[in-house]
């Protein structure tokens, strides 16, 4: 192939894309959809359930304060600390629950794998930025809140190419 025809072919290959819809999407207005409600784990079968590994959710009615999540995190990120909670639960005599520092968390989800009581899962929430380091430390009360996520953009593929709808 000659040099000129090769360059024209290369240019043509790029120019074709002027007419196609852009592949990227507008992030703060549009958000990518994930499968499920976040990564979960079933201690009975010992297998996880696929989902995005975002911020945790803690179920206060299930957490027994056994500290297994904190022990699992000890050698990984040291992000989990057990703290006192004001409420008294029958199943949680010591009244301690995990507090997670998202300045340290690496979102590996091994704390979820360690929980034998279905109390700690992960959610689709990944927008955790803050102005201070202290605000990244989520108390048990903050972890209890189910995040409001508005994610609906998915990759769509047609004969013209791929886009995010």
């Amino acid at each position: 192939m000659g040099t000129a025809s090769g360059i024209i072919k290369a240019l043509n290959s790029g120019i074709k894309h002027i007419a196609t819809k852009r592949f990227t999407f507008r992030y703060p207005e549009q958000k990518l959809k994930f499968v499920g409600d976040g990564y979960q784990y079933d201690p009975d079968s010992g297998v996880g359930i696929a989902g995005y590994k975002g911020r945790h959710i803690l179920f206060h009615d299930k957490c027994t304060g056994c500290q297994l999540c904190a022990i699992a995190c000890e050698d990984i990120a040291e992000a989990i600390a057990m703290v006192k909670v004001p409420e008294q639960w029958k199943h949680n005599k010591k009244a301690i629950m995990p507090q997670i520092d998202y300045g340290k968390c690496v979102f590996c989800g091994l704390c979820v794998d360690a929980c034998p009581f279905y109390a700690l899962y992960m959610t689709n929430d990944y927008e955790l930025s803050s102005f201070t380091k202290e605000a990244l430390i989520y108390t048990p009360a903050q972890l209890q809140v189910k995040p409001k996520v508005d994610q609906d953009v998915e990759i769509q593929i047609d004969e013209k190419g791929a886009n995010h709808g």
């Binding site: 090769g6 990227t24 990759i155």
Partner: protein, 384 residues
């Protein structure tokens, strides 16, 4: 006066000698801050436009992964071991998991083996696309930066659905994988992989058949077959020099021997061949993924239940896999404790770096990025 070199300084900074050199020769530091070098420094001595001496200086991102592994048990080692190559995190965990399984005597379920192969091949595509984008931008081809970065998103989306994270998946564990596939994953995977392959074919026109790229990379940095073997290079560098060596074929692990694929070998051994091999390998990855989705058992367990703090025997194992950069091996020594006694990571990047002084000496300075990035080198992995 300037010929005097303080002995201490010479010992500490071998590259920074204040020696009196001929006025023709200039020492040039490429990196460690320069974006064209990655997290490393290349000390070049140039005579005009020609490189007369090259001394790569890695080690700026050494994290002590091997030492850290001695203080963590076989499960908590997972998140930090994938950090050296976050784009190829499944492949760097692969030899570790294979080794620990051998150590603990675990039998991996059949479905988990296929899931691992799919995740590893998707990860290879992610890594190669990232590398290709960097290779494109350093040759001044900014479209080739945008396209692979954009198309990489197709594969990242699949890995995101499968493992729950865009990079650093922590998906492989000794004894299988963390979770099963989400519903309808097979259809989405097939659709996106087919489209990804279609996009890869378009790279030929704009990049690989582009006469400007060919003129810049053809016949630069030629590594002969004999030198490639003697220097101990691996992966795409070795295959570009005409040696048919792929660990997936030669020492098949998990289910690779049942899958239909071939290895790509080019004879030229120049930068062009080295840049083409990873691209050709991505087509094979697509083929493997399609084949694995077809042959995979439709249901079944994906993970063996492990005891807390499993202990290995008084033995040692060495397992290696083919990563995006070549052979990646892990040598685990166990002394009957929950933690490994010693973990040695042998990475492809570091082996390929040895070829760099050999290739750059005598080259033009302008060819440095073309030769350097064609080595498929990832500084963070080489430093561990």
């Amino acid at each position: 006066m300037s010929s005097h070199v303080y002995p201490k300084e010479k010992e500490i900074f071998p590259g920074l000698q204040l020696e009196k050199v001929d006025d023709r020769i200039m020492t040039l530091n490429v990196g460690p801050q320069h974006p064209g070098s990655g997290h490393m420094r290349i000390i070049l001595k140039v005579d005009g436009d020609y490189i007369v001496h090259c001394d790569p200086d890695p080690g700026y991102v050494h994290r002590g992964e091997e030492k850290m592994a001695e203080y963590r048990n076989y499960i908590t080692n997972i998140p930090h071991l994938e950090r050296p190559v976050i784009h190829d995190s499944c492949n760097i965990l692969y030899p570790y998991c294979l080794g620990v399984e051998e150590l603990l005597g675990l039998e991996v379920p059949e479905r988990a083996k296929y899931l691992r192969v799919i995740a590893a091949e998707l990860n290879r595509c992610v890594y190669t696309q990232y590398w290709l984008a960097i290779y494109g931008i350093f040759l001044g081809h900014s479209t080739m930066f945008m396209w692979p970065m954009g198309d990489r998103e197709l594969v990242i989306d699949l890995l995101d659905k499968m493992t729950g994270a865009r990079v650093t998946h922590a998906y492989f564990v000794p004894g299988g994988v963390r979770n099963d596939l989400p519903p309808n994953f097979e259809d989405v995977c097939l659709r996106q992989v087919n489209y990804f392959e279609k996009r890869l074919k378009e790279y030929a026109d704009i990049f690989y058949d582009n006469p400007i790229l060919i003129s810049r990379t053809k016949d630069t940095g030629i590594l002969s077959r004999e030198d490639a073997i003697k220097l101990g290079t691996t992966g795409s560098v070795l295959r570009a020099s005409g040696v048919d060596f792929d660990i997936r074929k030669k020492e098949p692990y998990d289910v690779y021997e049942e899958l239909d694929f071939q290895t790509n070998v080019l004879k030229e051994g120049d930068s062009y061949a080295r840049s083409k091999i990873p691209w050709l390998d991505m087509f094979e990855s697509c083929r493997i993924i399609r084949d694995a989705l077809k042959k995979m058992p439709k249901s079944g367990s994906v993970r063996v239940k492990l005891k807390p703090n499993p202990k290995g025997g008084d033995t040692e194992v060495y397992r290696r896999v083919e990563s995006g950069r070549g052979s990646l091996g892990m040598h685990i020594i166990s002394r009957g404790k929950p933690q490994p006694y010693r973990l040695k990571i042998s990475v492809g990047s570091f082996r390929n770096l040895i070829a760099m002084p050999h290739l750059l000496t005598g080259e033009m300075l302008g060819n440095m990025p073309a030769v350097y990035w064609s080595l498929n080198y990832w500084p963070v992995e080489a430093d561990r």
